[in-house]
């Protein structure tokens, strides 16, 4: 692998990302002709793995579309026979096994989508009131070793379990930002385990938000990361009718050594990089 032409890798990466210009595409074509084993799809598959790993919401395909796809199959059958045969592949690369494992694990639950369980698209919010998991809050579940869909525990119970079992769990109280009206009466805490890569936030008295106008967003500042790029912990809402709220922490990327959790108010859907102009709460380790 070390003997590979770095330019080839760069061009393959560019192809996977869809950013090759015409000249580069021609250059890649020439290099691929000379590549033993034919085309190398490993970059395309890596990009596909990235796509799936960063999907934040899996929703079932609309029924009418699925029906259309199945129904339109008949006239298509006749045209699928003139495909070139697969070219011999280079030996299986270890990373492909990793990608396959990740993706199979992530999506082993697909068939269950057509079952009776609640679907992600029905989810209204990831927060719960008083720790009670709403019936429609079913997000992409972890792969289960059993064939039945896992029944999630209420968030309060999950939080307690994490506190009891995770060896590295930390619990930090929120501190309201000075002169921040949204957090004037807010209290609560953050529970986090770096080994488990999960945690929960509890809020009491945090001002409700209108999700059409603003959303709360969590940021995790990690010792291993530049402070300019805190980990996005996801957005959440505080419903006007709620009292105590528990919000699961969904870090978009791993936070190995968090040092500070911060809540900001952002536009609906959150932002990629916060302007940090509206910090509401912080919890430092």
């Amino acid at each position: 692998m070390s003997l590979r032409d770095p330019r080839l890798d760069e061009l393959l990466a560019g192809r996977a990302l869809g950013d090759l210009d015409a000249e580069e595409a021609r250059e890649l074509e020439k290099l691929l002709v000379a590549l033993p084993g034919g085309d190398d799809l490993s970059f395309d598959l890596t990009a596909a793995a990235l796509d799936i790993a960063t999907l934040e919401k899996i929703e079932p395909m609309p029924a009418h579309l699925a029906a259309k796809l199945v129904a339109r199959d008949e006239p298509r059958i006749a045209e699928v026979t003139q495909l070139p045969k697969p070219r011999p592949r280079p030996p299986l690369l270890p990373w492909l096994a990793a990608a396959a494992a990740i993706l199979l694990a992530l999506f082993g639950w697909w068939p269950r989508l057509s079952g009776q369980g609640p679907t992600p698209s029905q989810s209204g919010t990831s927060t719960t009131t008083n720790g009670t998991l709403a019936a429609t809050t079913s997000l992409p579940p972890c792969p289960s070793t059993s064939s039945s869909a896992p029944i999630p525990k209420p968030l309060a119970a999950q939080r307690e379990e994490l506190l009891a079992k995770a060896k590295d769990v930390v619990k930090i109280d929120w501190k309201a930002a000075a002169k921040e009206p949204s957090a004037a009466t807010a209290s609560g805490d953050v529970v986090w385990s770096s080994t488990e890569q999960r945690g929960f936030m509890r809020f009491h008295g945090l001002a409700p938000n209108d999700s059409k106008l603003t959303q709360y967003q969590l940021w995790i500042f990690d010792q291993d990361q530049d402070d300019k790029y805190p980990v996005d912990g996801g957005v959440f809402d505080i419903d006007p009718s709620t009292g105590d709220v528990i919000v699961p922490i969904v870090a978009k990327i791993a936070a190995k050594h968090p040092k500070l959790f911060a809540i900001t108010i952002e536009k609906p859907g959150g932002v990629v990089v916060s302007g940090r102009g509206h910090i509401v709460l912080t919890a430092g380790i």
Binding site: L55, E56, P60, D73, P86, A97, Q197
Partner: protein, 204 residues
């Protein structure tokens, strides 16, 4: 996976939903839509400006899958990975076509933004592994890749948003993907994953 029959390393024929669908087997076609419909739809929704556009994209992706399903090789990747790769290529192609024409369509308001309906508390260990690999990228590489992948920004848009030369954005993205490929390989070499695809005696 029950739908995959691993064979020896000699490239013997393998059966799969994708092979069946490519051969026109109606049950495989139905299974293909059932199993991969949610993945393809979700990827298409993330990258498409409107719901209607996503529906069109999904139909094109499944046609691609039926046409190219025979190329699927279980020793190289899982079916899901293959499907995501085909989907990605089609979506890139559609984005290119869109960029070539004057776009007067109104965009869905929710496009590109992360959803409140994220994976919730059920963050899978395997997903965390992938996330860790992303976290190990250099910040500038990670940011460009995530802006491109999650938020669907073009490199030109990223360059403009981050006030970077386009060439720099391209370099960050490409080197980030190259590094990500290496990291996933390292993770597998360390035994962090079960080499599912090697079950059938595939060469390592």
């Amino acid at each position: 996976m029950s739908d995959r029959t691993a064979a020896g390393a000699g490239g013997a024929a393998r059966t799969s939903i994708l092979h069946g669908a490519a051969a026109g087997d109606p049950n495989s076609v139905r299974a293909c839509v059932d199993r991969f419909g949610a993945l393809v739809w979700s990827l298409a929704r993330r990258s498409s400006p409107t719901r209607e556009d996503a529906e069109d994209a999904v139909q094109e992706v499944f046609l691609d899958l039926y046409r190219n399903g025979a190329r699927y090789d279980a020793t190289v990747a899982s079916e899901a990975t293959f499907v995501a790769m085909i989907t990605r290529r089609r979506l890139i192609d559609r984005a290119r076509r869109r960029s070539r024409r004057l776009d007067t369509e109104e965009l869905d308001t929710e496009i590109g933004g992360p959803s409140a309906n994220g994976p919730g508390a059920d963050v899978c260990a395997e997903a965390s592994m992938a996330a860790r690999a992303i976290a190990d990228l250099r910040p500038e590489q990670r940011e460009v890749l995530l802006l491109s992948t999650v938020h669907g920004l073009t490199h030109e848009e990223i360059a403009e948003a981050r006030n970077l030369p386009l060439g720099t954005v391209k370099t960050h993205a490409r080197r980030g993907l190259i590094r990500l490929r290496e990291l996933l390989g390292e993770t597998a070499s360390e035994g962090g994953t079960k080499p599912v695809a090697a079950k059938g005696g595939a060469p390592s």
